[in-house]
Structures are given as structure tokens and as C-alpha cells.
Amino acid sequence: MASKTIDTRGELINEFNQSMKPVSLWADAWKRLRKNRMALFGLWIVAIYAFLAIAAPVLPLYDYTSQDLFQANLAPSFRPSGEVAITKAEARLTEIQALISEGRDDLAPELDKAKVEYDLLKADIATNPNHKKVYILGTDYLGRDMLSRTIYGGRISMLVGLVGTITAVLLGIIIGAISGYAGGRLDNFLMRFVDIMYGLPYMLIVIIMMSVFRTEGSSSIFILFIAIALVSWLTIARVVRGQIISLKNSEFVEAARSMGASSGRIIFRHLLPNTLGVIIVFSSLSLPGFIMSESFLSFLGLGVSAPDASWGTLVSEGVQGMELFPWRLLVPAAIMTLFLFAMNFLGDGLRDALDPQSKNRT
């Protein structure tokens, strides 16, 4: 769109004697994105998550590995954890007493045990400063803070998503660009290879790789990165190849070539910048996919291994006791879902903004 304001310096004048301010693709896209409320909401949420993930070590969070069995399975609350634990212990005492008065005499040893635990807890509260901590999202089965565990879990999940996306994009760009620019036999060979890889059951291959190369105890994040990245560059390679083929015979490439530009320069300076929009859209839509894959594997016990935890690990731990302690499932599940929502909204918004005539909208 040409703006109608008259430029006193008169740099660009159209046929109606109006000065024109050139609008770049990016400014235009940003304008469209700003109008999309859902995408903007997504952008904000993603920004907040990114901030929390980056700043986690300097934020006033409790240590996500410190355990205190006196504080296991506490419900979310703004009160100091000592009070919450005492209320919980008292509730248990009255519950057992009520059952005994109903005639369940067999519970007498349970009552004694609960009383001993109650006294121990009281004594511990008097001396242990741990009980002054406030767990706004509750604690898990080892008394670890759910808030900091979810934030640190998010760090791992987002890292996997980010590294997976970057690797997939880099590999995809290189192979797609070479294939599209070279054409001929090399192109044919590479694309047959991509076709065959497309036929492979992606998740199954990743599961095999995780099962085969994962070693107990040591961190398996690195293998996870490789496994996810190796099988995920296919789509971007196809897209980049298509774009390059459609552009490589255009005049500006011809011009560059006639001025003696090398193939590498033509690819990286002239062709790839034109595919940047598609690549950004693809990345933002595939990032949640990688996070889902990673959590999927971690949920099954094939992803990151302890002491690391990702959102998938947290959800799978939460499932264990969800009937009695639902927050252990719901907290990580909700936080993860919100992020995936936001990413999807942002990705859709970016697609609409960068590629307004997109054919594959749903």
C-alpha cells in the first residue's frame, strides 16, 4: 500500500504526484500480525514462557531437586507449607478416628502411625525453616516444588523444540537448496531419498533410536535431539526445493549470475531470503510438534531421563497419583497445553501474515 502523505523530500513519487513510502514485506507482515488478536495473545504467552525459561536460574524459585518428605503431595496453596502439611495431617487423623468410631477397629494401628507422623511433623516444623516455604502450585510425591519443576521442565521441553527446529531447518535448507539449485540427477536422487524417508513411520524410528542408544543414568537429551532432528528435515527440504526451483530462472538470478556471482552466493544471498517467510512459518508450526514428540517419548519413559525432567516426564509422574493428588497432573498439563496453544495461534497468525494467499489453510 502506498501511503498518501506527501514527502517533502520527494524521494518516491507515483503517477498521481504523491510520494510513496515503500513498505517492506516484514513491516507489512507485522502490521497484519498485530491485527490478529489470537496471534498477538500467542506471541505474548510465548514471550513470557521464553523469559521464564531463560531467567529461571535468577528467579526467586525454590530448588527443583530439593526433597522434603514431610511436604510430599501438598495441594496448591498460598499459605506456608508447614500449615498446609499440618492441616493435611489433622484431616487424616480425624478421618481415621471417624472410621474407627463407625466400627472399623482394624484401623487402630493406622491411627497410631498417623499420630506418630503428626508429632514428628510438629517437631520438624518447630526446627526446620523449610516449612516456611510457600508452594503456590503444590508439591510432588517427593515434596519438590511443582512451580519450579514445571518451569525447569519447560526449559528442557522448549530446548528440545528449539534445537529440533533449528536442526531440521538447517538440514532441510541445505539439502533442499542443493537439490533445487543443482537439478538433474542429484535432485532426482535426493528427492527419491526424501520420498522413501517420508514413507517411514517417523515416531517408530525415533522410538527405536531411543531404545537402542539411550543409556541409563547418563543424560539422553543429546540422543533425543539427534533422533528428532534426523527424521524431521524432510518437509522443509521439499518446501525450500520447490521455492528455489520456481525462482532460479528469474531475472534477478540471471542478473546476479551475469555479474559473476558464485552459486553459493546466489543461493544464500538471492534465493534463500525469498524463502524466509515459508521457513519462519514452518518453524513456528513445527516447534510445538517437536515439543509434543519429546513429551510423548518422555511420557513413555523413552525420553529425557532423571534427574532431568521435561513436561512429558512431569505429566507421566502426575498420572501416577492423579486420583488423590490431581494437581500433580493438572499443573504441568495445563502449563504445557497453554504453551502449545500459544505456539499454534502464533504459527497460524504468522502464516496468515507472511503468506496471505496461502493455499493450505485449514
Partner: protein, 308 residues
């Protein structure tokens, strides 16, 4: 058309070949075999075990042997479940997965198209907004979150449905939650897809013609709109099917369904390599054949496509 079918069918062979070869070598070059994790065996015993499973032979020999066995439909013995073969284990669990998967797929397709039609015809009204919000949830929320949350709500709080399990007195009821969970993301995607394509077709000339000649609205939608609008849904069936296969791995684990997916996870955790191989081959075969079938169906449905 016949030529296309034959060529497309022949292209399945290299894919299957790559899958078998890739998984075979991935597994054989793994650090630590299936017997190395157990307590130290006497050398002679280990040799005998290796001999029994033909693992003392050279790698190419093992590969040829395995390939030959697979071509004869024999996946060998399971390393972990010593008394059963891989074929038996798969044969036991396979029907359960088929039941779960096909119910989920049917649910996703019919409910998805139904919701898609409704929200396209009621565009920008509350039905549309409700359906599309549901669809966004379905696409964003992972299966392993939906499953446990449904268990929490419908089994533990409301006590309407069994938490997990498969066989037994409650049999058809145990199918409901896993099938719902498994179908949800694909239901959501199909709903969005069919809504978008119906909206596009509704604006087309031939629909205007159909209306202009005085057809009833129901006839226009059912006879003319749907036929054109369902093509994207058909082409999505291939990816949906492969998604349901991988999804069933997690859903079967959450709901303790004795299917192939559950065994797959266990075999991956146990490093029961022959079992993993067998399952991957079976899964891939189904997938590849399904994609083939979708391509053929697509060709019949869309008269604009001509195969050379």
C-alpha cells in the same frame, strides 16, 4: 489407471526394504545386546545362547537370514518373553489394536465431517465458534494429557466409565475412553479441514447452479457440496492413519489396553530387539498399504486427476 496402481504398488517395495534394513542395522550396531544387561553369564553359556539366536554369524549373514525369515512371515523368537515367538505376541495383541484404531478412525472421520458441515453451514454463529474452539483444543493438547484428564473426570470423579483395562465384564465400556482419546486430535483436524473446504465449495459456481435450479438445501449439501469438499479429508486419511498408529502407542499405555502399542513400548524399554523389529515391520506395512489405498481412492474420487 491400472498402470498407475501397479507403479504405485511397486514403489512400496523400496520403502519396506529401507525400513527393514534401517531398523535391523540400527539395532545390531547398538551398544549392548539383549543379553549383556543380565548378570555375567559363563562364556560357554553365552556362546550357546548366541548360537541359538544365530548371533555368532557374521553381520551380512544374520541380515540375510533375518530378511529371508521376514519374507516367509517369521519374525523369530522374542528375547524377553522366552516361551513365545514374536508372531504369537503380535497375533495376540493385534486384534485389540485393530478394534481400537478402527473405532477411533471411524469416530474421527464421521464426527469430524459432521461437525465440519455444521460449523460451515452456521458460519460465525455460536455453533461454529464452539466447534472450532473444540478443534483448537484437539490439535494443541497432547494425547497423553487428554487421556488421563478424561480418566480423572469420567472414571474417578463421575464414575461413569472404567478407568482402564480391556477384557472382562465391562468390555464394550472399556473401549469408550481410549477410542475417544485416540480420535480427538484427528477429529479436530478433520473438522477444521472439512469446514474450510465446504466453505470454499459453497462459493463455487456449480453450487450456485444447483441452488438456482431449485434443489432443496439438503440435497445441495449432501449431493454436490460434500462430494467436492471431502477430497482434502480423503487425502488426510493417510497421515491420520499413521497418527492413530503412533497415538495408539501412548493411548494403550495410558488405558492399559493389551494391544500392539503397549507391547511396543515394553519391548523398547526391555530392548527386546526381535519384538521391536517385528512390530515396526507390521506397523510400517499397514501404514504403507493404507497410504497406497488412500492414493487409489483419491484417484477415483477426483475426476480432475489423471494418472499417466
Amino acid at each position: 489407471m491400472t498402470k498407475f496402481i501397479i507403479r504405485r504398488f511397486l514403489s512400496l517395495i523400496p520403502t519396506m526394504f529401507v525400513i527393514i534394513t534401517l531398523s535391523f542395522f540400527l539395532i545390531r550396531f547398538a551398544p549392548g545386546g539383549p543379553f549383556s544387561s543380565e548378570k555375567k553369564l559363563p562364556e560357554a553359556v553365552l556362546q550357546n545362547i548366541l548360537k541359538k539366536y544365530h548371533m555368532d554369524e557374521s553381520m551380512p549373514m544374520q541380515y540375510l537370514r533375518y530378511f529371508n525369515d521376514v519374507l516367509h512371515g517369521d519374525f523369530g523368537p522374542s528375547y524377553k518373553y522366552k516361551e513365545s515367538t514374536v508372531n504369537e505376541l503380535i497375533a495376540q495383541s493385534f486384534p485389540n489394536s485393530i478394534v481400537l484404531g478402527s473405532v477411533a478412525l471411524a469416530l474421527a472421520v464421521f464426527a469430524g465431517i459432521g461437525v465440519g458441515i455444521t460449523s460451515a453451514l452456521r458460519q460465525n454463529r455460536w455453533q461454529d465458534y464452539l466447534a472450532m474452539s473444540l478443534a483448537v483444543i484437539g490439535i494443541s493438547v497432547p494425547l497423553f494429557v487428554i487421556g488421563p484428564v478424561l480418566q480423572l473426570a469420567f472414571s474417578m470423579q463421575l464414575k461413569w466409565l472404567p478407568v482402564s483395562g480391556w477384557y472382562g465384564r465391562k468390555w464394550p465400556l472399556t473401549l469408550i475412553l481410549p477410542a475417544l482419546t485416540l480420535s480427538f486430535p484427528y477429529f479436530a483436524y478433520i473438522a477444521r479441514l472439512s469446514r474450510a473446504s465446504i466453505l470454499e465449495v459453497l462459493r463455487s459456481d456449480y453450487v450456485r447452479t444447483a441452488r438456482a435450479k431449485g434443489l432443496k438445501e439438503s440435497a445441495v449439501v449432501l449431493k454436490h457440496v460434500l462430494k467436492g469438499a471431502l477430497l482434502p479429508v480423503v487425502s488426510y486419511l493417510g497421515p491420520a492413519f499413521s497418527g492413530i498408529i503412533t497415538g495408539s502407542i501412548v493411548v494403550e499405555s495410558v488405558f492399559v489396553v493389551p494391544g500392539v502399542g503397549r507391547i511396543f513400548v515394553q519391548s523398547a524399554l526391555n530392548r527386546d530387539y526381535t519384538l521391536i523389529m517385528g512390530e515396526v515391520i507390521v506397523y510400517s506395512l499397514i501404514l504403507v498399504v493404507m497410504n497406497f489405498a488412500v492414493d487409489i481412492v483419491y484417484g477415483f474420487l477426483d475426476p480432475r486427476i489423471s494418472y499417466k
